[in-house]
């Protein structure tokens, strides 16, 4: 395409957006006015989006890890994270932690929940791999996808049953299908006020914890995959399974370990989301999984930093759309931006690094 042709195309797309956009709340003069009137709202919304994006990114890490190694879109991952949230809720409930308990008394139960949820999800994920995906390793590329969808349904239903365990865990509440309240345990201290800055912007320790956990997880995962022996074996397996096998790598074991790691991440994410959003419901995994999967692809699937970037982008975009466009249209806006980005960067935001793999 010649240069003038492509610029014409851009102009055309921009015009179309301006034409149709107002139907979905894109009223530019109003938005400019809103931002000029209260810029602190913009900052606040970006912060909200950032933290939500970090949560999406943590779930997306699990997707990207599994995708990177066996090119499977693990549809069940979102629901595994939901099971992780249920496991954490069960532990916290069984240990009798009350809503708003002080940190001294809730720290240990939280750690216990972290361990239980991670181990549980890791185990479940490994078993799933063994019995639902491994038999399909040499099947057509899309066969494991269907298996994953089936597993996802099984998990959703398991979550529903779990939610009905009121006879053993009173924290589950009266109704199996209803959302459950997760005790609010993380301290909520407004950081800006703490440092003496007076503003309308709220940024609490709770938000900070989520951001820190996300960054730590991302960096350590990145380092793990890049520099440890196991990480190298994982990359080798991802690049060429047969060659890796010939090099003496136990491919089955490596894949199982990848699922183990992905499961542990899902468990941790479940606890974190439980602590941050304070609600657990059996349907929460499907949408979160969809968002996370989108984030992983947007960032360039298989790329750990890309997953983070994609997650944050989606989070911020939704927050801004809720604020300035219309929450009815947020989903459409998020995916429209995704489509536009991928139309111009077909390999995702950070996708080039992977080109050699293809």
């Amino acid at each position: 395409m010649k240069r003038w042709q492509s610029s014409l195309l851009y102009l055309g797309v921009a015009y179309l957006i301006l034409l149709i956009g107002p139907l979905a709340g894109l009223d530019i003069p109003r938005i400019i006015g809103d931002i000029a009137r209260s810029p602190d709202v913009l900052v606040q919304q970006i912060l909200v989006g950032l933290v939500n994006g970090a949560i999406i990114a943590i779930i997306a890490l699990g997707y990207t890890l599994v995708y990177g190694i066996i090119e499977l879109i693990n549809f069940a991952h979102g629901d595994l994270y939901m099971l992780g949230a249920f496991a954490s809720l069960t532990v916290v409930g069984a240990l009798g932690v009350q809503d708003g308990a002080p940190l001294q008394s809730s720290l240990l139960p939280m750690l216990a929940a972290l361990v239980v949820a991670s181990v549980f999800c890791a185990g479940v994920n490994m078993l799933t791999e063994r019995y639902a995906y491994r038999p399909l390793r040499n099947a057509p590329r899309l066969a494991p996808l269907i298996s994953a969808i089936g597993v996802s349904f099984i998990f959703i239903n398991t979550g529903l049953f779990w939610g009905g365990l009121r006879a053993f865990f009173p924290i589950m509440g009266a109704n199996a299908a209803a959302p459950k309240s997760f005790p609010d345990l993380l301290p909520r201290i407004d950081l800006l006020k703490q440092f003496g800055i007076q503003s309308n912007i709220a940024f609490t320790t709770k938000d900070l914890i989520v951001l820190v956990v996300a960054v730590v997880l991302m960096v350590s995962l990145h380092l793990f995959v890049q520099y440890t022996r196991l990480g190298k074996a994982m990359r080798a397996t991802a690049q060429n399974r047969d060659a890796a096998r010939m090099m003496g790598i136990n491919v089955d074991l490596i894949i199982a370990l990848t699922f183990l790691l992905g499961g542990a991440l899902a468990g941790a994410a479940g606890l974190l989301v439980g602590l941050y959003n304070n609600t657990v419901v059996f349907t929460m995994g499907f949408t979160a999984g969809l968002r996370a999967f989108t984030a992983a692809v947007l960032g360039g699937i298989g790329n750990i930093i890309g997953a983070m970037l994609g997650g944050v982008l989606i989070g911020v975009l939704s927050a801004l759309s809720d604020q300035y466009l219309s929450s009815r249209w947020t989903n459409a806006w998020v995916f429209a931006v995704l489509v536009i980005i991928l139309a111009f960067r077909p390999g995702g935001l950070l996708g080039e690094k992977l080109q050699e793999k293809v």
Binding site: V48, I55, A178, Q323, S326, S327
Partner: protein, 432 residues
């Protein structure tokens, strides 16, 4: 061994004829079978197979989404229905009639919620089973639009414990030719024990006015029920002089609403009204509202009967304190007489506080059983007429009748507020 003629002493041809003979016998039998099914000698019968013994068995069917996200509410409806049937010992007319109950699921696993094709198919199945005299359902008003016309032509009555869309019954309140399009044979066969949106939305707005609310922000869950009730709330609130700061639909599957609540907080309302059900993330809304700093003493949260249940309190935890809900009847704990017995029985049986939809389910089934008791035979049209003619019925919602449209005349509603993790009755409300 591998050839097909390994049958010793039997040539292929004769074997073929033997087979053919058995087959012909089978076909003959098959040809005769319609007569045998209709013979009155057959007893009992599986739900799907024999419609025999018509006359002393009637069947009530419920068509509700039992898969997916509305499950919380529909379970309680079914609990209510079953309680009625158990109380009447699955019989009517002092044992002359046997009442069967079948629970149909109008949702599918594939869709994860109510599926229009499934609604139509359930309605047709109900019609084609001669024992079915009444349908209790549907949960979603959209589903009712499809089921009513099918049942209408077959004279099967439908009593809904949950539909609130006004256009289903009230002339002039819906669009175009509603509600007449739903009743092709011209006779009403649909009634509901819940007050329609136009009553409850208005009651909510009136309540807000008496509480001195000045600025309200309205949300809905983008479903027919929630959007409808929110729209009515909005127009009534405007008429009453309450400033409406905005009206938005939420993505009921989102994991949180901090961005939305941040936006609302900046507008400084003193009430957030949510048209929708608990299952569509009402709990998370309440939590995030408090999370971004809208405390109960500054901003109230109000919703319709879709959030009048313990599940909301379970979901919102300590943040539920002060949440207000309207309910199209008197809450269980305030009941006297029949209602009180029901309230205590329900608590004993299901080990849970009876909720809005349990009461509605119970009431719907009670109305149907009461009509069957009047008619005392398997006669769809007569039972339909008996249900539609329900007058001065004393049930668990109070004393009420069906009006000519099939709407409940009960206009007393209650306002309830969460106090120490329980809904507590606050005051009686009027729609007008």
């Amino acid at each position: 061994m591998n050839s097909p003629s390994s049958l010793k002493g039997l040539s292929p041809r004769s074997a073929f004829f033997v087979a053919l003979a058995t087959v012909s016998a089978g076909v003959l039998a098959a040809a005769c079978q319609p007569n045998t099914t209709q013979a009155p000698t057959t007893t009992g019968g599986s739900p799907a197979s024999s419609p025999a013994a018509a006359g002393n068995t009637v069947k009530i069917v419920s068509s509700l989404p039992m898969t997916g996200s509305s499950l919380g509410q529909t379970q309680t409806i079914v609990n209510g229905i079953k309680q009625v049937l158990e109380e009447s010992n699955y019989g009517a007319c002092t044992g002359k009639l046997k009442i069967e109950y079948e629970m149909m699921d109008d949702a599918t696993a594939a869709a994860g919620k109510w599926d229009p094709a499934q609604v139509t198919s359930n309605a047709n199945r109900a019609v084609s089973d001669p024992n079915v005299v009444a349908v209790i359902g549907t949960f979603n008003s959209g589903a009712a639009k499809l089921a009513i016309p099918i049942l209408n032509t077959a004279n099967v009555v439908m009593v809904s414990p949950a539909n609130t869309y006004p256009g289903l019954t009230k002339p002039g309140k819906g669009e175009g030719k509603e509600p007449d399009v739903y009743y092709p044979n011209g006779i009403r066969n649909y009634a509901r024990v819940v007050p329609a949106d136009d009553l409850q939305g208005a009651a909510g707005a009136n309540w807000a006015k008496t509480l001195g609310i000045k600025r309200v922000y309205i949300l809905d869950d983008q479903e027919l029920y929630g959007k409808g009730i929110a729209d009515i709330f909005k127009s009534t609130a405007k008429n009453l002089g309450i400033e409406v700061l905005g009206h938005e639909g939420i993505d009921s599957k989102a994991s949180d609403y901090k961005a939305l609540m941040t936006k609302i907080k900046a507008l400084n309302p003193d009430l957030i009204y949510f048209g929708g059900i608990t299952q569509n993330n009402a709990g998370q809304l309440v939590k995030d509202m408090r999370n971004v700093g809208m405390t109960n003493d500054r901003v109230k949260f109000m919703g319709p009967d879709g959030i009048f249940e313990q599940a909301l309190i379970d979901a919102a935890g300590k943040d539920a304190e002060g949440v207000m809900a309207t309910f199209g009847g008197v809450p269980g704990s305030q009941l006297t007489g029949t209602g009180k017995t029901w309230y205590e029985n329900y608590k004993k049986k299901y080990n849970a506080e009876p909720e809005a939809y349990a009461a509605y389910g119970y009431e719907a089934a009670q109305v149907v059983v009461q009509a069957i008791n009047k008619v005392c035979k398997n006669d769809r049209a007569a039972i339909r007429d008996a249900v539609m003619a329900t007058k001065d019925f004393e049930g668990v919602l109070g004393k009420w009748s069906f009006d000519a449209n099939g709407d409940t005349t009960l206009s007393t509603m209650s306002g309830n507020v969460v106090k120490s993790s329980k809904y507590e009755f606050s005051q009686l409300l009027k729609a007008q």
